[in-house]
């Protein structure tokens, strides 16, 4: 199988596997090191309130409040992985369905879906993220009758809400030219219905497009969460997040390099691994891609 021979993709898969283990083992790391993710260590900040760098007990140093950076990175992996995978799954499901219908049916349905996508894309993304996060995140009850809780779920919903139109537009564009092709005509001439043509004839031709786009979307959404957290809009401070950690570092990055470096490297490698994995999947699945 082609995928197995792709060294980069296999390496990425191994890295993602290790990351998943790290995320699961976060409490174990906290227990072994004896440093809780939100535990403050007075002796890890100096008289000026500046954190101390890596040492034998704190491998990645401490942050401005004297918390263990390594332990917080391990917990941060949970947030990045969950948001990346779940938000993308939701966005792709919505985007592919609507894009397929819009491109294939055309007419009023197409106008309706395309314009909805346009309107969502016209929304100043972060403004609405700020708005929704503030509206739903400032009280424990959440919003919409308690169905949307502040924290991780809210971040996932916001990200999925804003990323499906990209998928829908790409899929619609591809369907527009695919539906004019001979094989669709042929399928129709032997009596295939609309649903069969859409899902059995057109959809398989879109698999590589969808996988390439989803593969771009997982790391993008991991980054989106990091951006939200960087601006102070993501998960609450008690839940460690890589974006939040880099944001905390931005005031003192010239004296405390480890605060910026380690969470950034984890974020970069994670996003890189998902991108490489996506490329590998594309090369393996796309019949056109010969190597």
């Amino acid at each position: 199988m082609r995928f197995r021979r792709d060294r980069w993709a296999m390496a990425s898969l191994v890295f993602i596997g290790l990351l998943v283990i790290l995320a699961f083992a976060a409490p174990l790391i906290a227990t072994i090191s004896g440093h809780g993710p939100n535990e403050l260590f007075r002796d890890m900040t100096d008289d000026f309130g500046l954190p101390k760098g890596p040492n034998g007990s704190f491998w990645f140093g401490a942050d401005g409040s004297g918390r263990d950076v390594l332990v917080r990175i391990a917990y941060g992996a949970r947030v990045s992985l969950i948001v990346g995978v779940v938000a993308t799954g939701v966005a792709v499901l919505i985007g592919v369905t609507l894009g397929l219908i819009a491109g294939y049916r055309g007419g009023v349905i197409d106008t309706l879906i395309s314009r909805t996508a346009d309107i969502v894309l016209s929304l100043p993304l972060l403004l609405f993220a700020i708005g929704i996060v503030t509206a739903c995140g400032s009280s424990r009850e959440g919003c919409f009758g308690g169905t949307v809780q502040p924290g991780l779920t809210l971040v996932i919903i916001v990200i999925a809400l804003f990323s499906w139109p990209y998928v829908a537009k790409i899929v619609r564009g591809a369907v527009l030219s695919l539906r004019e092709r001979e094989f669709v005509e042929a399928s129709r001439s032997v009596g295939a219905g609309d649903l069969t043509i859409m899902f059995r004839e057109i959809l398989p031709n879109l698999v590589s497009v969808i996988i390439v786009y989803a593969s771009l979307l997982v790391p993008q959404n991991i980054l989106f969460e990091a951006y939200l957290s960087f601006l102070g809009l993501g998960v609450p401070d008690s839940t460690p997040s890589w974006g939040r950690m880099i944001s905390d570092a931005s005031d003192i990055f010239d004296v405390a390099w480890w605060l910026m470096l380690f969470p950034g490297i984890f974020l970069l490698l994670t996003v890189l691994a998902f991108n490489l994995l996506g490329d590998g999947l594309r090369d393996a699945l796309d019949p056109k891609a010969d190597r």
């Binding site: 314009r115 346009d118 309107i119 894309l121 016209s122 929304l123 100043p124 993304l125 972060l126 403004l127 609405f128 700020i130 708005g131 929704i132 503030t134 509206a135 400032s138 009280s139 919003c143 537009k169 564009g173 527009l176 030219s177 004019e180 390439v212 771009l216 790391p219 980054l223 990091a226 951006y227 960087f230 601006l231 974006g243 880099i246 944001s247 570092a249 931005s250 990055f253 010239d254 390099w257 910026m260 950034g264 974020l267 970069l268 996003v271 890189l272 991108n275 490489l276 490329d279 056109k288 891609a289 190597r291």
Partner: protein, 321 residues
């Protein structure tokens, strides 16, 4: 085509109305409480709150306020046309600051876009033509790195290296071109680079992918079979089809970036639209929030329309009813 454009322009108006309506809904759904309370000082009396409400126009019902907002947007107000009112926070007219802020953001976007097109498209085309070569692998590896690197992290790293360690650049903030062109450039070069590297990487990947798809199409084989020169095939057929999707992508990105450079602006302390929006939204400053929202919605819709028209001109297979 003319009717299509008019219809799309009408849609733009509808989008603006819907987007502002949503902004209103979210703004008043926010459970932060009465906006008037925030601007009435530390220990407000009921009379003072009432006074503030009247001066901000918050004494009217929400639908009434929305109607008034739309009316002023169309007919103008005491600060001229379009009527955008005054900021709740600074009590200053919104329009002059909007213009000033927009200049910063547009400078950032245009400089960035020129850079990323100049880097991304050639890299993508050459990688596709020299597929599998060392050059292709190095460019795609580099592209992958920049697609994966968080913008704010790259920004902080570049500031750390070029500002704090090497001392080549003067730091963060925005200097207007009129006051000092040299300082303007040295303050913008890092934000441009950081913004452009991400998009250049995305565009290089997209262009390469499209080109490779096109190369395997039947009509390219036909063109080759009927004896067209390789140069003509690349320039006339492959390049045209390979780059067309970039135009849609560029239009979407340019429009979205008008309200989406907030992270870059935050890292480099540029006083642009994104920065303004973040502060305004967090402080319940409705007129500022609405003004930026309207601008962004118009930008996105217009750029999307331009993209679709260009798409129809460049790709003869696409026709609009």
């Amino acid at each position: 085509m003319g009717r299509y454009i008019i219809r799309r322009l009408l849609w733009t108006v509808l989008v603006v109305v819907l987007v502002t309506l949503l902004t209103f809904v979210i703004f008043f759904v926010m459970p932060k409480g009465d906006p008037a309370l925030r601007f009435a000082g530390k220990s407000p009396t009921p009379e003072l709150i009432q006074e503030v409400k009247e001066s901000l126009g918050l004494d009217k019902s929400v639908p009434e306020q929305y109607g008034l907002f739309l009316e002023r947007l169309v007919t103008g107000d005491e600060y001229g046309w379009p009527g955008l009112g005054k900021s709740f926070q600074t009590k200053q007219a919104v329009k002059p600051e909007l213009v000033q802020r927009a200049q910063v953001t547009i400078t950032l976007i245009i400089g960035g876009a020129l850079l990323w097109l100049a880097i991304g498209i050639p890299v993508g085309v050459i990688s596709a033509l020299r597929r599998g070569s060392a050059l292709d692998r190095i460019s795609m590896g580099t592209a992958l790195f920049f697609v994966s690197a968080p913008v704010f992290w790259l920004g902080l790293l570049s500031l750390y290296v070029f500002w704090k360690k090497l001392g080549w650049l003067p730091g963060t903030g925005y200097v207007s071109f009129g006051s000092d062109p040299g300082a303007w450039f040295s303050h913008m070069i890092l934000p441009w680079m950081v913004l452009a590297l991400l998009f250049a990487a995305i565009y290089a990947r997209v262009v390469r992918g499209n080109m490779i798809d096109v190369m395997t199409e039947d009509y390219i084989r036909t063109a080759r079979a009927k004896g067209l020169s390789e140069r003509r095939i690349v320039l006339k057929h492959e390049l045209r089809t390979g780059i067309t999707p970039v135009i849609t992508l560029l239009a979407i990105d340019l429009g979205v970036l008008v309200g989406g450079t907030i992270v870059t602006e935050t890292v480099f302390n540029l006083q642009g639209l994104g920065n303004w929006l973040l502060v305004a939204a967090q402080n319940n400053d409705l007129p500022v929030t609405l003004a930026v929202t309207v601008l962004v919605a118009i930008a996105v819709s217009l750029f999307s329309l331009i993209a679709d028209i260009l798409y129809a001109i460049l790709d003869p297979r696409v026709r609009y009813q």
